[in-house]
């Protein structure tokens, strides 16, 4: 049914709960350490590593949103217990 519909269904997302990585992940620390002036270089490096082109029409908006994500992440990611596992969430 879901294959016929042409998109992954809700049974296909188990990978989201499988990672035991810590909040002190170097990638997270590097991201949080950015400032708005260094986001562009970070984005270019990440895009190259991912094989993701940023067409000119998308660049300004993408950088603005990435900088916003960094600022938002800084509000909750700094003080987390890095040893805590990620649980399969129950409300």
């Amino acid at each position: 049914m879901l294959v016929a519909a042409g998109y992954p269904g809700y049974e296909d997302f188990s990978y989201l709960w499988s990672s035991p990585r810590m909040a002190t992940d170097p990638a997270l620390a590097a991201f949080l350490a950015l400032d708005d002036d260094t986001v562009a270089a970070y984005a270019d490096d990440r895009a190259a590593a991912l094989g993701l082109a940023l067409p000119p029409e998308t660049r300004a908006g993408t950088l603005e949103n990435l900088a916003l994500l960094r600022r938002q992440a800084a509000t909750f990611a700094m003080d987390l217990d890095a040893a805590a596992p990620i649980e399969a969430f129950e409300p």
């Binding site: 519909a5 269904g9 590097a30 994500l69």
Partner: protein, 474 residues
């Protein structure tokens, strides 16, 4: 009863069902009238019609009634769904250009199947923000959905078509989805009731995914009774959505008793009051007074929870959209595309941190609910902004409309709590809604509080002013 044709219809779903059962009209007449209203939709709520299907089902219901065979509680009631729900034979576009060439869905989504099994007659699919990523329903491909109370204003989003169709009298019942507020915000801006159930309560199978960790589906209606009935009819486990395991716990039969009993009500302060427009806080006060609520209840960590949901959303969504972001990024709505690209570039560790913070905030909410049965909060920071309006003022600072309409809804959906969005009774004024938040799996308490308010005339879905009927669209 409205005559068959294009006159807008504000009967409740259960009134329509009663009219059909008692022979004052037929399911066929109701289906024809709903299709006619959809064809002259002045709100740009619809994006597709399934007229043949609707008429065929309606005729089958009329035949069942004529033969005195049993029919479901919504037999003959027209409904419509956000266009991210699978409809058999219809391409599930999810508000996008990307999916316009996808194969038609082979089956209805589970929620559609369950309402159809109860006799409800599907009329069509409804406009939304692209891939459910937004609060405005100013869709780059299908155009903006207009607020029935003021056609120059947005309906809210992402389930804007679903809210406008109910508010505007096109159908009495619709389905939407809510990841960060996409049922509650448009319900508030359009002045109707919406229910975001507990995460995992209703099956999401056959709804195009946005953010698996946060996605919910739920109904819109013009009364609490219709909202509760539709919710009950869609409950029950579904093996195709692993989160949806819980047996059905019907709410409607319990609402009167709970509404008549004591309710401990708190009004969330702190984050949930920052930046709210004065009329939003005034509306909240009306509701709080009616429920004799305690003011200024703190939910610690709400700002961080909002930020975590804000970050988790594009990063998780970018997983799903990775291939298309690489090969055809310019086919996305720019407002959606740039956020998804940012999510693709952000490290996965940010999303992991957002998932790690989630149980801590949930536990904080559980502690607050030890003293309260329901908590109140605004559903949106403001009444409906204008179509095309980019900024608004919060705390005297210009801020983005798109980024801030869901400021008060995001922390709640982040931890999956059930919420009724209820329209405050403000005749002649722009609609404003409140969130009635209950502990997990206690939807009946939020619905009962809404029922108490509805019976007292404190919340109500008003008819919008008359609008000129539009041109035939389908």
């Amino acid at each position: 009863m409205s005559p068959p044709g294009s006159a807008l219809d504000f009967r409740s779903a259960q009134a329509v069902a009663a009219d059909i059962r008692e022979g004052r009209t037929t399911a066929r007449e109701e289906a024809e009238a709903a299709v006619a209203r959809a064809r002259t939709d002045p709100f740009n709520a619809y994006t597709a019609l399934v007229a043949q299907r609707a008429l065929a089902q309606a005729e089958a219901i009329d035949a069942d009634l004529a033969a005195e065979r049993p029919v479901g509680p919504l037999a003959g009631v027209p409904f419509a769904v956000k266009n991210l729900f699978d409809i058999e034979g219809v391409t599930t576009i999810a508000g996008s250009k990307i999916r316009r060439d996808a194969a038609p869905a082979a089956h209805d989504a589970t929620a559609v199947q369950r309402l159809t099994a109860a006799g409800a007659v599907l009329v069509g699919a409804l406009n939304m923000d692209e891939f459910a990523y937004g609060f405005v329903t100013e869709n780059a491909h299908d155009g903006p959905t207009r607020n029935p109370h003021d056609l120059a204003r947005i309906a809210g989003g992402s389930s804007g078509g679903s809210a406008a169709a109910v508010a505007g009298g096109l159908v009495p019942l619709t389905l939407g989805s809510d990841t960060n507020g996409s049922i509650r915000v448009p319900a508030s801006l359009c002045g109707v009731f919406g229910l975001k159930p507990t995460l995992g309560r209703l099956s999401r199978q056959g709804a195009f995914p946005f953010v698996e960790s946060l996605d919910h589906v739920g109904p819109f209606a013009r009364s609490v009774a219709d909202l509760a009935l539709a919710y009950d009819l869609m409950q029950g486990p579904d093996p195709l959505d692993p989160l949806c395991r819980r047996p059905a716990e019907p709410a409607a039969p319990r609402l009167q008793a709970i509404a008549d009993g004591p309710l401990r009500v708190g009004v969330l302060g702190g984050w949930f009051a920052q930046g709210a427009f004065p009329e939003v806080l005034e509306a909240l006060e009306i509701v709080a007074d009616a429920l004799q609520a305690r003011r200024g209840v703190e939910l610690p960590g709400a700002e961080q929870a909002r930020a975590a949901a804000f970050c988790l959303t594009p990063i998780e969504a970018a997983h799903l959209h990775g291939p298309d972001l690489k090969t055809r990024p310019l086919d996305y709505d720019p407002a959606v595309r740039d956020r998804l690209l940012a999510g693709a570039l952000a490290p996965e560790a940010v999303a992991e941190a957002a998932r790690r913070y989630r149980p801590a905030f949930r536990d904080a909410a559980r502690r607050v609910f030890e003293d309260f049965d329901v908590l109140l909060a605004p559903a949106s920071v403001c009444p409906a902004p204008g179509i095309g309006q980019a900024t608004m003022e919060m705390d005297r600072q210009p801020v983005s409309v798109r980024r801030n309409l869901g400021a008060y809804t995001q922390p709640i959906s982040y931890i999956g709590l059930p919420v009724v969005a209820a329209p405050v009774n403000r005749p002649g004024k722009p609609p404003i809604g409140v969130q009635i938040v209950a502990p997990a799996w206690r939807e009946e308490v939020a619905l009962a509080a809404a029922l108490r308010l509805e019976r007292a005339g404190v919340v109500a879905a008003h008819r919008p002013p008359p609008v000129p009927l539009g041109e035939v669209r389908a």
